[in-house]
């Protein structure tokens, strides 16, 4: 069996530990997480670093992985229905434009994410909020 190794940064706290993931590329599966050398962690990991990755395989424990865009087509209270990306994007964009036109850009609030998405996604989100919507109403869960 081929085993690939990919090094990345842990997503469980601000310590920024380096983890080496061993991966089975054929089955697209993580096999194991081992500590890698990083400036802050010096080849050590805590329990979340060692054992906090199998959520990605959707083990159906607490919550279900979201696998398709969903929209409440019948409005508030109606069930969420699976749709394709094109429909989800245009629905979202249209609803946001409607609200912006009617109430101004400051009626819209967006969040960044202090968790898994990474810096680039946060940059794009605040740029979208400021340049596309036209408001500085962007913030994130820094305080919890």
């Amino acid at each position: 069996m081929t085993v690939n190794e990919v090094q990345t940064t842990c997503a469980y706290c601000g310590a920024g530990c380096q983890i080496l993931f061993k991966v089975d590329p054929e089955q697209n599966k993580i096999l194991e997480a081992v500590p890698a050398h990083g400036r802050t962690n010096e080849s050590t990991l805590c329990l979340k670093g060692h054992y906090g990755w199998d959520y990605i395989n959707d083990p159906q424990i607490l919550t279900k992985r979201l696998k398709n865009p969903l929209i409440r087509k019948g409005g508030k209270g109606s069930p969420l229905e699976e749709v394709g990306w094109d429909e989800a994007i245009s629905y979202t964009a249209n609803r946001l434009m409607e609200i912006k036109q009617k109430h101004g850009p400051d009626a819209i609030m967006c969040t960044g994410s202090a968790r898994g998405p990474g810096n680039e996604a946060n940059y794009v989100m605040q740029k979208f909020t400021r340049a596309a919507i036209g408001t500085n109403n962007v913030d994130h869960c820094a305080r919890i």
Binding site: A15, G16, D58, A93, I99, N119, Y123, V124, M125
Partner: protein, 570 residues
Amino acid sequence: MSNGVHEIEDAKLLFVFGYNGADSHPIVARRIVRAKRKGAQIICVDPRRIETARIADLHLQLKNGSNLALVNSIAHVIIEEGLCDDKFIAEHSSGFDEFKELCKKYSPEAVTGITQVHPDDIRKAARMYATSGQSMILYGMGVCQFAQAVNVVKGLANLAIMTGNFGRWGVGIGPVRGQNNVQGACDMGALPNSYPGYQNVTVPEIRAKFEKAWGVPLSDKVGIPLTQVPHYVLHEPEAKKIRAYYVFGEDPAQSDPDLAEVRESLEKLELVILQDIYMNRTAIYADVILPSTGWNEHDGVFSCCDRGFQRIRKVIDPPADANVLTDWEIISRISTAMGYPMKYRNTEEIWNEVIDLCPSFTGATYEKLEKYGNIQWPCRSKGMEDKGTSYLHKDGKFANPDGKAKFSSIDWQPPTELENNEYPLIFSTAREVGHYSVRTMSGNCRLLRNLEDEPGWIQMNPALCEELGVKHGELVKVISKRGHCVTRCLPTDRVKKQAVYMTYQWWIGACNELTIASLDPISNTPEYKYCACRVEKIEDQAWAESYVLREYENIRLSMGIDVAKGRKAI
């Protein structure tokens, strides 16, 4: 953090204030342990007997909510006993005289009623901190999650300035950031008052720079902080109301204070967009759900707590049946559909745009991140020789217009909701070491779930347990003015009798049903560490156990889990 995590173990004295590293960052706590082994002295300031308190030379077990009174009192002793670094104060600071005046009334004897710390211990702490020659302050949510929070941070900074503990190796002041990329979200300008790189939206020249780069006029009005969203949905006049909320990688319906109010505002909003990897509590209120890739399924950069940029890499593909996109692709496509085209091919392209707009990040190229692994900003030059900055304020230079550190003279103020006859106990939130945040990730990890699961625990002093007649493991009801929840009793003499603590990860033992949305006026951080509550014994334990099981099943059902499949996870 003004200094690097790797510097902690070289400090001669660690002043650990409201920071429980063992539970929030075990790998940072490791440095505290190593510092101790290398001979450093440790002062721990915490109302609980946390792990750091056990190994500390001095533990100031202060009363919850008395932070600034204690900090100002330590400053009082440093001044009174002539332990200031006069040269540093004269050359690198401003506002000392006013501060000196303020401190006069904070003698250890004067504050002992507030802090419940013996005056001798305050004196001892002040001497130790001021005379070690290399003292570093580490603080955490025990400072930040109060209605008086930023001012305590300023108070701690006062201590470092007055003793010259800035701008060198192994000194400074370290807010150890909790979530993995909270530093990064701030760095990238996911803040209502600043563009990426801490460039203020109200400064015309800066705004002009971003207008030019992004090709559109930008708003000069500071935005709304996240914690004020419920207020702007429910209580502002029509013209100022928030009507659409685009929630990205967060779960306000679980993580924000006073959940009853959060739910009310989510119901009222015209449009709730949720972009996430797992179902969560906010999803119940969402009109649109946009599924994205999770950690390990995409590339990018994180910023760790000491300003260190590090790469994250795609480890595996998303599951074959998951029709998901990366977060930046989803947002770019919505933006393009709204008439503001964003076309990026990969994260490096985005990152290059970021660093070119932010002078303090300019040198942190992907090439250097690959080569050096970790670059702490500021890193201004793209040349390979600029490897970033381990500690800030070198040579006593500070980011104020006059280049000096400014003393802040601020009085202590008590927390918002004090204990009373109906709610006689102090309620504070804490962290579960094996879980993360709202648990959409760690709650779906088999082994972390095995270690701790719903409905969590409430830490109570054994004497309190005895008074209430509750035993280890029994389910109890915790009640505040705003709501209640059910959790398990954990008797421990590591907490005082006057206060109880719950970890904030649980959905059944949801402590945010109790917490108060009282915000620090500057940071808008809620007072998660202080409100009034009472604990009630539940006579019918069998009923309570079945209630918890039923609730858990309901949660899993509402989160899309096929409950019939597999055994109970509890």
